[in-house]
Symmetry: C2
């Protein structure tokens, strides 16, 4: 039973690698699906769940939340919800892992599923290449300049890093934490997939 986790710098094409790897290998793919499932189980709004995952701010929130009694009260309710989200997320990840043969993008799955010995892939690229990729996939209601996009990329990476480090000793993006680190700068993602899939298969046979 195979579990592949994909961690990635924002804009590096990690999500596309994850999706294409799952197609190549015939594995299940999980990404946004995890928030959808949590939201359904907890009867919460999916965007609220998504906002609260992959963010580090939420667990620390009460400390910064102001000093009025009602402020603290709201903060307490929010933190309670957030702990529920985290518990539910861990449970869902464990269920996914138990079924096996899956690719999970983000969600700190590399850490939360550590004991399942997943293959841990990290995907990265240089800033120019990431800005270019992100500019190319902007939706109609977005209008970032390249400079703004770079700022957004740095912000998202920072949030991912902080969130990850709530659970892991090591540093997010430190190659020692991963089995393979792939630099997608200047590469068309789909051309890299067969070799990455072959590498994962070879690694698994060594376990």
């Amino acid at each position: 039973m195979s579990i592949i986790t994909v961690s990635r710098e924002f804009g590096s094409g990690g999500r596309e690698i994850g999706k294409r790897l799952s197609d190549e290998l015939g594995y299940s793919y999980y990404d946004r699906e995890i928030e959808t499932e949590i939201a359904e189980k907890l009867s919460m709004d999916e965007n609220y769940v998504a906002d609260n995952l992959e963010r580090s701010s939420f667990l620390a929130m009460p400390i910064h939340y102001g000093s009025t009694l009602s402020g603290w009260n709201s903060a307490w309710v929010m933190q309670k919800q957030q702990m529920e989200i985290l518990q539910e997320k861990t449970k869902i990840l464990k269920d996914i892992a138990a079924k096996g043969d899956c690719v999970i993008v983000g969600r700190a799955a590399d850490v939360l599923l550590e004991e399942n010995n997943p293959f841990k892939l990290f995907v990265y690229a240089d800033m120019d290449s990431r800005v270019k990729r992100c500019m190319g996939r902007m939706s109609d209601d977005e209008s970032y300049t390249e400079k703004e996009m770079e700022k957004k990329i740095r912000q998202v990476d920072k949030e991912r890093k902080n969130y990850h480090e709530l659970f892991a000793d090591g540093t997010w993006g430190d190659k020692a934490r991963y089995h393979l680190c792939v630099n997608t700068t200047g590469c068309e993602i789909k051309t890299l997939i067969p070799a990455i899939a072959a590498y994962i298969k070879a690694w698994e046979e060594n376990q």
Copy 2:
């Protein structure tokens, strides 16, 4: 024309990966051969040349070399020789690159051949795995304990890092500097080769 540089943590199996990749791809392989050629061209002892490459101490030597006139004089002669070695090395690397289809292990080739756009591979592994690999390949006249071996590994890595950083802005081992970073922990090297070779071929087609 393809140039592959392999940088590696000591004991991670990087040299074996380089050798096997060259066999797999039918490319020329360069490692110790480079020092042999320098030694021949400069009529120096091969071990002296090897000792002076992949060490950072040599370029800084006169500063630490003592304060007597004769000390400075010897230091000057040595530094002159060392600059000759470095020049010869760069020339040999350029000749190798001009012929193409080669794998070069170490020798800061990733930096010195930067303008040839080589595929840059970095090979690493966790400390336990590296100690184990090094203990297994000790020669008859060596007798390290595991603790001593770990110390040696850290020392060699430090020297490689320092030497590399004489030429490169970035940090030795920083994944951003490489196209692919491979963690060999717990893996039999030869099983990983076809997938790494396939990845390099895919990357080259993107260039």
